[in-house]
């Protein structure tokens, strides 16, 4: 009994979301971390019994507000697969544009929170200031800042006009300039490096073995990005997954920072090649059969399993979110780090507990 035991969460100022970690600390070094979940569990998967497959779009969007667009897109793709619907090309491009915008806003938001976790308040403010431009784009194009509700089975609900595209391009230029200005802080600042380099190291082997996903996996040197599946319009848009080899909190931060710039580029190219045509296909009938598919969310790979029996209501909807996959690596990362680095490491996987628990 010579250890400090302290409850970290569920309500904790540095945790944006309720997760509990029971930390056993010895001289401020974490020896053991036991997670407890359930503070956000709502039981969304079972709402398929209450909402029909169209209404479920709005439900899965709210699995997580930050990556809502990707959840809805993945779900719609699943239903479209089951119903054999061909989504118009323009809709595919628009989905990519909005999803990449979501990635940008999610990463910017995370970068801010991450900075806050090691007490760098001004960087937090700066990232969130930059992020507001993306929120404006969302609001102007989709009508809402966070949960955009643009997806529907068979396509998208909103369209982009050429003038809007031009305006978005302008805004993204601004975002890029401001990001470049802060790049050196995030990647080279002495104090930031001191707080992140070597913290929460996940080796390449461990990352693979423990099933890490997204930037957590790529930060450990494994180039695995679900966008390589070339879904929607990504078959026309070339990109290279961002990889860092450090496997520590710094590497994961760097991956996300670089991905933000990459996504800006993707949006620009998608807007440049935006084809004309319809934005949604007609939907007839009801889904039937089972399918499993994946998309890359800001936090990593998200898998949807959908089983339908030909009625209005789905038989089973199963969502495996990226954070769900990143929790086991997190529990492996925590022992051995300092107490002060716990928030940094916890945030470095970009935990989205509402995704995890649904």
């Amino acid at each position: 009994m010579s250890n400090t035991i302290l409850p970290f969460g569920p309500q904790h100022p540095v945790l944006p979301e309720p997760i509990h970690l029971s930390l056993t600390v010895e001289d401020e070094v974490v020896r053991q971390a036991v997670p407890a979940l359930g503070y956000v569990h709502r039981g969304l998967e079972m709402l398929t019994r209450k909402k029909d497959f169209h209404q479920m779009i709005q439900v899965v969007e709210r699995v997580c507000g930050i990556c809502s667009m990707m959840h809805a897109m993945c779900y719609c793709r699943g239903i479209e697969t089951l119903m054999d619907i061909e989504v118009p090309r323009r809709a595919q491009f628009l989905r990519v544009i909005w999803s990449e915008l979501h990635r940008i806003h999610s990463h910017l938001l995370w970068l801010g929170l991450y900075a806050d976790s090691f007490g760098f308040e001004s960087v937090f403010m700066q990232f969130w200031k930059i992020r507001e431009r993306i929120m404006d784009i969302n609001e102007a194009t989709a009508g809402n800042r966070v949960i955009v509700s643009v997806n529907r089975v068979g396509g998208v609900r909103r369209d982009l006009s050429p003038s809007q595209c031009w305006w978005i391009g302008e805004q993204l230029d601004e975002v890029e300039t401001e990001l470049k200005a802060i790049e050196s802080t995030m990647l080279d600042n002495y104090t930031v490096k001191k707080r992140t380099v070597g913290k929460g190291v996940l080796t390449k082997e461990d990352a693979w073995e423990l099933g890490a996903a997204g930037p957590t996996l790529r930060g450990s040197g494994i180039a695995r990005d679900m966008r390589e599946l070339k879904y929607e319009a990504l078959d026309e848009l070339e990109f290279e997954p961002v990889v860092e080899t450090g496997g520590d909190a710094y590497a994961r931060g760097a991956v996300r920072f670089k991905e933000t710039l990459q996504s800006i580029d993707l949006v620009r190219r998608a807007m440049a090649r935006l084809p004309g045509g319809e934005t949604a296909a007609k939907v007839k009938g009801k889904p039937e059969g089972e399918t499993a598919l994946r998309v890359e969310q800001p936090r990593g790979e998200c898998m949807y399993y959908i089983k339908a029996d030909g009625s209005r209501f789905l038989d089973r909807l199963r969502i495996r979110t990226p954070t769900f996959a990143n929790i086991p690596p997190l529990t492996a990362m925590l022992p051995g780090i300092e107490l002060a680095d716990v928030p940094v490491v916890v945030l470095s996987i970009d935990p989205c507990i509402s995704c995890t628990e649904r």
């Binding site: 956000v40 079972m46 800042r145």
Partner: protein, 167 residues
Amino acid sequence: MFKKIMERSRIKSPWLVHYDCGSCNGCDIETLACLTPLYDVERFGVLNIGNPKHADVLIVTGSVNTRNRHVLEQIHRQMPSPKIVIAVGSCGLSGGIFKEAYNVVGGVDRVIPVDVYVPGCPARPEAIIDGVVEGLSVLADKQRRPDAANGAVAVDHTNSEILYESR
């Protein structure tokens, strides 16, 4: 005179604690966005203090579930009076789109008394600022009638008929 300064100060320095009570993060990030340069609620003296023992305003986002209701109750209990509760977003108000889910108890007002309701899904930062400003007038009221501050928990039962019918 001191009393007057204190009365004025109370509405000039609301420190808030934010609890994410099973929200989808939409309202959370909008609440956080209020603190950031573009909305900057520190103009009104608002600090996101994070510790219920220091806070005057409890901002709750998200629907209450069976596990976090105790946490919510406890945070509310640990805040010294006078205090106000602001429920943010459809989930916090009534359970929103999740009100039929099996692990959702409902809105925040089922567990603790809510003073201000901020609708929206997610609630926009502007709406949250409105909520805080509105909350301050409630706080000023409470100070005039301190008994009301620790009143019994008023629990809302609208929508309860939809909730457990299937079980």
